[in-house]
Each structure stands twice: as structure tokens, then as C-alpha cells.
């Protein structure tokens, strides 16, 4: 008994000792766990809170609302409209196969379109939106709405999309939007930032150039999602900013008339304010409907546009490099006057042709003009006279004056990436570009705007404007708002030595249009309110052979591609000039018969519209 009880005591001592060890161990382990909790929940709390939010919050970006284009009078020329769309969220549909077949019948989808939709459905998660149709007409949209009772899960949605109400009138100026591709995303930071699937961005024209301003910012929806990515609840809706609405200097009425005048012709018209540089109209023909591109153009429409021999995809106003023909003559004459080569009394005897080093240079008038002075040479566009003064002037001095007046340089700076510079040749240029010496004969044909020299219609318009305003530099503007001006400079840069010389040129151009024997006399307007001065041009697209010269074919007898381009530059009203224009009709035959009559119609409208424009400006200032 004693033995056993002493053993009991020993056992108790042992177990209590071990309990003490265990208890201490427990204490330290407990402290360890509490400190781990403290570390995670107090010290590292921020980090894990962020991670937890990252887990549960997901952002959905919605396409930003694109800024609009307005003309000078506030008409919307590129706006937004509500597109009727049809969305399906597959998991919300009980019997997807039935519903989609029902939709197919209602929308009369082709098998090809139908399979495309099914393919798209397989690519997305079942709770993501499947866009069945992106631009339904009202009839089909309402048809769907009427059948909603048996289309469980189908959502008719009204979404905002681009619209060009004036269709083909502004295509080349404004451009169009279409779905952003990989290139667009990589090259433009703003697109990258605001990209959502289906985002439409500018592809050409101002839509492309001013993308950053127009794009706006996304609406952002923040949703709480579960571990499987399903939206549970909306946490926040952050309204994005609509893109900037841009006001253009364009007058839609004049633009529309330009479009009408060039209907079924290839060519360009541009009209410019000679003091502010505001482009009032700028049109390239043939054009096409930009709305076709917004939801992706169909293959047939695309082929039609692409294969048109008149090349509707080319913006002829900015991209068309043309020989200016006789429209260069005012600059040649001015250069000769400025450089003191000639004066107003200088006369040349025109016999219909001149010979130089065995080469014959023809005047357009076979019989010749006889003795012509500067004014008469301009008026009747005597080529022989200009051969002579160009020969005396030399191409380098001529190119200097031409460049001063804006030739050989983009008119809009960097605004349009597609804009061509044209070409003003000189001896140095030929040596560098072609590695050959300049020939005197080339100087002579440059004097009548043939040969190497090339200009774009907008350059010709700018050149005319600068002659019309008395010889001061202006910068063409397309955006009306002050902060968007390309080169907002108030002071005029003088382009001439003697202002008298400019006057002489202006007067000669007046003669050309308003006096008997003038090349565009038939297109004159006698009413001094509308009276304008101009210069015709006919530029050859190929060298005329002697045989053809003998035949002297009428325009319609020559194949289309070989006909001359018809050009016309003008400014008006003559008494108090305000606008300048340039007209080019590709293969239009003759400047005086094809291009000049258009100017007559245009000036009537331009001057009438000017009053409205002025009134509006005045009111604008009064309001302030």
C-alpha cells in the first residue's frame, strides 16, 4: 500500500511536471498564432484588402460617346444616332436553340449570318452578352418587340452609333468611323486607353486626324463579381465624358452645291475665305456614303467603291497631284513682274508656236494671238507669251514665288496625313531627284503649268486666295473654334515686293472673266455684287502628237482617260473680294467650258451665303 501510494505520488509529480511543460508550450504556440493573426490582419491589412477588392470588383467599360461635327451654322454633319440592337445573354435563356431559331425567322437571317452568331456564342461565356444584330431597322426591331413574350432572355437594346446625315457630301473631309483594328489600338494612346470590343474609331479624314479630341472617355460600370466572374451587383457607374463636338468652317449649302456640280464627274471643288483662310467648302468627287462603313461594309458595296474607275476612295482635293495648266499663269506673271523681268508694256508676238533648239512649242490657239501684252496674255491665256517670260525669268525664280504662295507645301500642315505636297520644280530639285541638268524647254512648259510642276486643288485655292487678298499669307482653316486653329496668327505676312504687281494680276484675271475675248467670258456675272475674276486652265494628261494636233478632236471624241483636266481658279466679288475657289474636273476637257460655268453657280450662292454668315457672326458677338 505504501509502495503503491509512493508510486502514485511519483506518477502525480511526473504528470504535473509534464503538464507544466505542455502548458508553457501551448502558451508560446498561442502567442505565435495571435501574432500571425496580428501580422495578417493589422500589419498587412492594406495589402490583403486591395487583393480582396481586386478579387471581387471588376470593371466594365462601355464605348465612349463620340463627339460630333457641326458645320459653321451648327448643322450636325457627323452625329450620333440610336442604333437598334438585339442582345442575348445565353444563360438567361431557357431554351437557347428555340429562341435563336425564332429570332432567325423574325429577322430573316441568312444561314451564313446565323452560323456566325452561333460561332460567336460559343466563344463567349454564358453570362456575357451576345450581340445578335447591331443595327436593326425600326420594322424588324418592333417586330422583335412584339414577339418578346416568347423570346425569353432576348433584349432589344438601343445603343449609340455614328451617323452621317449628309451622306456622300462630306465623306472625304470628315471621313468615317469603323471598328478599331489592332493598328488603331497600337498607334493611338487614347484608343488604347478607352478601347472596348466593338469600339468605332476614325479611319480617314478628320475623324481620324482629330480622333483624340472626338473619342471621349468610357462610361465605367463597376460590378461586384463572384469567384466565377458572374456579376452580382453594380457598385458604381462612372459617367464618361462625351468627345468634343467640333465646329467646322464649312457651309453645308455650298458643300452640297459642290457635290451636285461634280455629280457623275471626277474632280474637286474648294472654296476659301481669302482673309481668314476658312475653308467654306471642300469636296472631292465621286464620293460615297460613309454610313456604309459604320457597321462594316458589305463585300458588294466595297467592290463597287473600289472598282470605280473614277476612284472615289481618293480625296482629290488633298491627294490629287495635277498639272496646274494655265492656272499657274498668274504666279508666272507675278514672278516676272516682281523680279523686274517685264512690265505691263512688255509685248510678245504670238504666231501660234515658237521654236527653241529645234523643239516646237505650241500656243493653244493655232493662228496665234498676234502682239500681246501681259493683260491680254492673261486674258486670252496666250501660251507663247508665257513661254517667253518663263524663259526670261528662269525656273528658280519662278519656283521661289510659287512656293511663297503655298505651292509645294501641304496647305493644312499635319492635319491630314494623306495630304500631298505637290511639286514645284527647280534646277536643284531636278539634279537631286533625277540626277539630270535642267533644260530650258522645261522652264518654258513650266511657265504654262505643264511638265514636272504639280499642285493639289487646295493649293491652287490657297494661291488664288492669297492673290485675291492683296498678297498676304493666310493659313487654311477647317475648324472654326479659335483653340483649334491650325496657325492662329493675326498678322499678315506679306508675299510681294510691290503691291502694284498684285493689282496688275488681279486686274488681268478680271479681264479674263469679264471682258470680251476672255477665256471665261461666257461664265461671267455682270451684277457687281456677284462679279468675280478668274483664270481657266486646261492641263494635258499626255503629250499631244502632231497628228492629234492636225485632227483637233472635240473632247467627246477622245477616250475618257486621255481627255484634258479642266481647271478654274477664281475670286470674288471683284470689287471687294472675300472668297477664292478652285475647281478641277478630271478629264473634263476644257477649263473654260467645263470648270468656269461651275464657278458662276458657286459664286452666286457663296455671296448670298456670306451675308448669312456675317449676320450670324454679328449675332454671336452681340450675345457675348
Amino acid at each position: 500500500m505504501i509502495n503503491s501510494s509512493s508510486d502514485n505520488v511519483k506518477k502525480l509529480n511526473s504528470i504535473n511536471r509534464r503538464m507544466f511543460i505542455t502548458g508553457s508550450l501551448k502558451f508560446f504556440i498561442m502567442v505565435g498564432i495571435v501574432s500571425r493573426l496580428f501580422f495578417l490582419q493589422v500589419k498587412e491589412n492594406k495589402k490583403y484588402l486591395t487583393l480582396s477588392d481586386k478579387n471581387r470588383i471588376r470593371e466594365w467599360k462601355l464605348a465612349p460617346v463620340r463627339g460630333e461635327f457641326h458645320d459653321y451654322f451648327g448643322n450636325v454633319i457627323a452625329g450620333n444616332f440610336e442604333a437598334y440592337q438585339l442582345h442575348i445573354i445565353p444563360e438567361e435563356v431557357e431554351d437557347f436553340r428555340y429562341v435563336i431559331n425564332r429570332v432567325k425567322d423574325l429577322l430573316e437571317l441568312s444561314d451564313k449570318e446565323f452560323n456566325k452568331i452561333l460561332k460567336k456564342k460559343n466563344e463567349i461565356k454564358s453570362w456575357e452578352t451576345l450581340i445578335v444584330a447591331d443595327n436593326l431597322d425600326w420594322q424588324k426591331f418592333s417586330k422583335i418587340n412584339n414577339h418578346l413574350y416568347d423570346l425569353n432572355g432576348v433584349k432589344p437594346v438601343i445603343s449609340i452609333s455614328r451617323n452621317y446625315p449628309y451622306k456622300e457630301n462630306f465623306t472625304h473631309l470628315i471621313g468615317y468611323v469603323s471598328q478599331a483594328n489592332q493598328n488603331d489600338i497600337e498607334n493611338t494612346e487614347a484608343i488604347k486607353k478607352n478601347f472596348v470590343p466593338g469600339l468605332k474609331v476614325g479611319k480617314v479624314g478628320l475623324e481620324k486626324s482629330l480622333e483624340t479630341k472626338l473619342l471621349g472617355t468610357n462610361d465605367i460600370e463597376r460590378y461586384e463579381v463572384n469567384a466565377y466572374g458572374r456579376r452580382i451587383s453594380q457598385l458604381e457607374f462612372q459617367k464618361g465624358e462625351k468627345g468634343k463636338t467640333l465646329k467646322l468652317t464649312i457651309d453645308t449649302e455650298i458643300q452640297k452645291l459642290s457635290n451636285e456640280l461634280l455629280k457623275d464627274k471626277a474632280g474637286s471643288i474648294c472654296v476659301m475665305d481669302i482673309y481668314t483662310g476658312d475653308v467654306v467648302a471642300m469636296h472631292s468627287s465621286p464620293s460615297f456614303d460613309p454610313n456604309l462603313f459604320v457597321f462594316g461594309i458589305s463585300q458588294d458595296d466595297w467592290q463597287l467603291i473600289r472598282n470605280n474607275p473614277m476612284k472615289p476612295l481618293v480625296n482629290k482635293t488633298l491627294q490629287g497631284n495635277y498639272s496646274p495648266g494655265s492656272t499657274i499663269k498668274p504666279i508666272v506673271a507675278l514672278s516676272a513682274l516682281e523680279n523686274g523681268i517685264i512690265n505691263t508694256n512688255f509685248t510678245v508676238k504670238c504666231t501660234g508656236k515658237t521654236e527653241m533648239y529645234g523643239q516646237t512649242y505650241h500656243c493653244w490657239k493655232k493662228k496665234g494671238h498676234g502682239f500681246v501684252s501681259l493683260r491680254n496674255a492673261m486674258k486670252q491665256s496666250c501660251d507663247t507669251y508665257f513661254y517667253e517670260i518663263a524663259r526670261r525669268l528662269g525656273v528658280d525664280k519662278l519656283s521661289e514665288t510659287a512656293k511663297k504662295f503655298g505651292l509645294g507645301e501641304t496647305a493644312f500642315g499635319d492635319l491630314f496625313s494623306i495630304e500631298k505636297k505637290g511639286l514645284v520644280p527647280n534646277t536643284q530639285w531636278k539634279k537631286n531627284a533625277l540626277g539630270k541638268g535642267w533644260l530650258l524647254g522645261e522652264t518654258m512648259i513650266t511657265g504654262i503649268g505643264q511638265g514636272y510642276i504639280q499642285t493639289t486643288p487646295i493649293q491652287l485655292c490657297l494661291m488664288t486666295a492669297q492673290i485675291a487678298n492683296g498678297g498676304y499669307k493666310i493659313y487654311p482653316q477647317i475648324l472654326a473654334d479659335k483653340e483649334n486653329k491650325i496657325n492662329p496668327s493675326d498678322k499678315f505676312e506679306q508675299l510681294f515686293e510691290k503691291s502694284k504687281n498684285i493689282k496688275i494680276i488681279q486686274d488681268a484675271m478680271f479681264g479674263s472673266t469679264n471682258e470680251v475675248m476672255g477665256t471665261s467670258y461666257r461664265s461671267r456675272i455682270d451684277n457687281p455684287k456677284y462679279q468675280f475674276a478668274g483664270k481657266t486652265g486646261t492641263s494635258q494628261v499626255k503629250k499631244i502628237t502632231e497628228r492629234e494636233r492636225e485632227l483637233d478632236l472635240k473632247t467627246f471624241e477622245i477616250p475618257y482617260e486621255q481627255r484634258d483636266h479642266a481647271l478654274y481658279i477664281a475670286f470674288g466679288p471683284y470689287k471687294n473680294p472675300r472668297y477664292a475657289l478652285s475647281i478641277i474636273v478630271e478629264h473634263g476637257g476644257n477649263g473654260s467650258t467645263t470648270a468656269a460655268p461651275m464657278a458662276k453657280k458657286l459664286f452666286k450662292l457663296i455671296i448670298d451665303r456670306h451675308k448669312i454668315r456675317e449676320t450670324m457672326n454679328k449675332n454671336k458677338y452681340l450675345e457675348i
Binding site: I33, Y48, N55, E224
Partner: protein, 375 residues
Amino acid sequence: MYQHRRLSTSSFNFFQKFKNFDYILLACILLLGFISLATMYSTDGGKVLFHTKSHFTKLVIFTFMMLIISFINIKYWFALGYLSYVVVIGLLVWTYLFGITSSGSQRWINLYFINLQPSELMKIFIILCLAKYFHRMKLENVNSIYTILTSLIIIILPMGLVIVQPDLGTSLLIAISGVAVIWFAGINYKYFIYTILGFVISLPFIIAFLKPYQKLRVLTFLNPDKDPLGAGYQIIQSKIAVGSGGIFGKGFLKGTQSYLEFLPEKHTDFIFTLFSEEFGFVGSAFLLIIYAIIIYRIVAIGATSRSYFAKIFCYSFGAAIFVFITINMSMVLGLLPIVGSPLPIMSYGGSSMLATMIGFGIVMSAKVHSQQLIA
């Protein structure tokens, strides 16, 4: 005096038994039960759904069972020591032969009203069995080869039966329960030291024998960010949940990690994560304090018990509960690799709760009958 004492103990009446109850322990257990119910309600997304109902039912039934157990004299539990062990071994064999297979392991027996997991019961009954084994043993005999071998067999037999299920986690916890008894029984320190040394040395070989998924768990534990959406997902999401809880938590029913289903196994092994996310550091510390009080009371009851059997049972059970809690918490806090181990009372699961409540019941019985001597 001695005689009188004996008489008085034998004529213990019902009310005296009530008076002897450890009310602090009972209060803590009930409080824990309430917290577990609230947490379960949260896992059901703030609705009384299946898990909450089932947990509630089990909690009520097993609490009553615990009270009944505590009124039964501790000597009867002593008497049942070997038998209960044999019965549970039998159940484990039954499981091995006819058990229900779920997610790749065969752990459960279908008893129609409950799917019983005998391995959970073994965590408690191995303590009961070994406590009885060492009760009468003289201290000098404890370290004999025969005793050590016998106790090792008692431990390894159920371990083996559980490992084949396969369920490494539970078998380790059974071993820990058994080893706790051997430790308190007074087996020489050197054996423990040798075992630990031997374990460390053989660790590379053990790893070589691990199943691929077990190896993956260990590797994941060492670097959870290696495969954040695969093997490391559970532990990363669990740490995010706990860490984002902060000091005061996100609020009841507002734990986004669990509500939005980022948390895996939130009803069972990861219940603490959810609790910690919603109630923060303060809540977690509170829960730990409740567990600490429970363990303290268990140890205190052991210390005041007259019988060696009751003492060794309470100490071992206290140690075992402590280990279950710490292993579960260390696991969800990223301190240990993921092993399947529920948090006592808090986790959803009938067998675990049943075993824990039986343990509490026996401890309570030891308190009520603290003066009972066992021959």
C-alpha cells in the same frame, strides 16, 4: 473520515451533481456553439439553409448527449476504455470494407440518420483507451519495451486504417492524441527526442512515399504563389480573406471573400477564415480566448481530479484539442500545409462534433465526479 467520504461520494445525488458542474466550461462551449451557428448562417449567405439547420440540430443533440455523459460516473467511462477503442477499430474496418466514397476517399459509414466518420471518433477514443492502459501502470513499468510497443500498436493500428482511406491529416491527429497520452504517462524524454530526430532524418524518404497530391500540398505551402489558380488557390484566398478582415472585420454577413465564393471549403476546414474576415482581429482573438478558457478549464479539471485516469484523460484531451485548433488555424493562416483538419465545434461536420462533445462530456464527468477514485 475516509469511510465517510467514500459513502458520501457513492450516494451522490442528482442535485449535487448539478452543483459540481463546471459552468464556465459549459458556458464557453455554449457560446462557441452559438458563434459556430452564426458563422454557419453566414456561410449560407445570410439565410437559414441546409448547413445552418443541420449544424443546429447536431449542436442541440450533441450538447444534450454531453450533459448525459457528464452525469454518468467516470468509472464507467474507465470501464468502457478498451471496449470503445475496439468498437471504433471495428467501425474503421467496416469503413475500409463498405464505406462511402466521396471526393476520392472512403471515410464515411452510412448510418441512415448520419454519415459517420469513425476516424474522427478515434481521435477521442484512443485517448480513453491509452488513459486506461496507463492508469494502473507503475511509473517504472511505463518505460519498459513491452509497454512502449503495446501503446505504439494501439496508436499505429487506427493510423494505418485511416491512412488507407486515404486521410493523412486525420491519421496524424489520431497519432498526436495518442502520443499526448504517452507523454503524460511519463515515457522517457529521450524517446521523444529520438523520434523527432528520426523523423527529421527520414523526412526526405517520407516525402518520396507521399502521394502526388500530398507532395503538391507541401510544395504549395512552401510557395503558394507558384500556382495561384491551381494548388495555391485555397491558401492564397484564405490569407486574403483573413488579411482583408482587418482589426474589426468586414462585419457580419459582409465577408466578400466567402459571400462571393472565393473561399474554398468554407463550411468545414476554412470556417475560421470566414469568421476572421467578418469579425477581424478582435473577433479572432475573442474566439481564441474562448478556446483558451476551454482548454484551461479542461486542464484545471484534470488537476483537481483525484483519479489518475481522469487526470491523464483531461490533460491529454486538452492537449489534443489544443493541437486540433492550432493545426487548423496554422493551416488557414498559411503556417502549415493544407491538411484536412476541422476546427472543433466551429466546423460543419457531425462526427467531429460528436467526438469533441463526447470528450467534453467525459471531462465534465471527471469534474462532477472529481472525488471518484478508480481502483
